[in-house]
Amino acid sequence: MADRAEPLAALQGRINDAAFGGTTLMTVPFVAQVGLRVEPGSAAAGRVETALGLELPEVNRMSESGGRRAIWLAPDEWLVVAADGEERSLVALLEEAIAGEGSVVDLSANRTGLELAGPDARTVLATCCSLDFHPRAFGPGQCAQTLIHKAGVLVEQRGDDRYLLLVRPSFAAYVAEWLLDGMLGLKADAAA
């Protein structure tokens, strides 16, 4: 695990400075992420659910148990996330559970995290993402793969005003710049 570079280290100062009125952006540089493909409702899916202690969630939803989360990606595909360092044990656990009936791939290096939290988090998101995050359409426990301008993001709502964005490391600065742009605009409005 030596020699890992945080994808957004160069932007850290500006990310810290963009905070306003309790709304903050935070980097979550390393997250254990395992891609899981298994036929929903199959015996293998059942074994995965037992091993993780959770139900594989339905469309656009996340389910959680013991610090591990399964995020819906597609009808037979989930991203299982856990704390940094758990990737190997998670892969081993899931491989044993599927027993060849599906696929398990360590994707931890594929995405880095950005957490946007606070009273204006949703407004910041709305400046750069066209998905409807209004509480009537999206709430805690929901997730979606969508776009922030041209970059693909996996958005997971972690609380009433807390969002985790998982983005490819090479697009992370691009996504962070758009979020910072939204934050600085709203910060200026608030100060005016």
């Binding site: 469309v59 656009n60 597609a74 009808p75 793969q145 969508t146």
Partner: protein, 92 residues
Amino acid sequence: MFEIRCPYCGPRDEPEFKYGGQAHVAYPADPELLSDEEWARFLFVRDNSRGRYAERWNHAAGCRRWFNVIRDTGTHELVGSYRVGEQPEDAR
């Protein structure tokens, strides 16, 4: 911009999708029996009709699944979408 209903994820904006051309173009049962002209016709020639048209879309920035859409080429109305394996009548 279209709002396209992915049969898996729900309605999303058009930039999340990639267009895949006419739907229900069956792969030839025995391609080796086709003449060059017939093969070229399968590969390149598509309907260009006015009215309801079945076409393929891929939810590239979402679930990455292929599905079908009925679009009115005269009015741009999206009549509905349906999964691969379903029929145009299933569009909603």
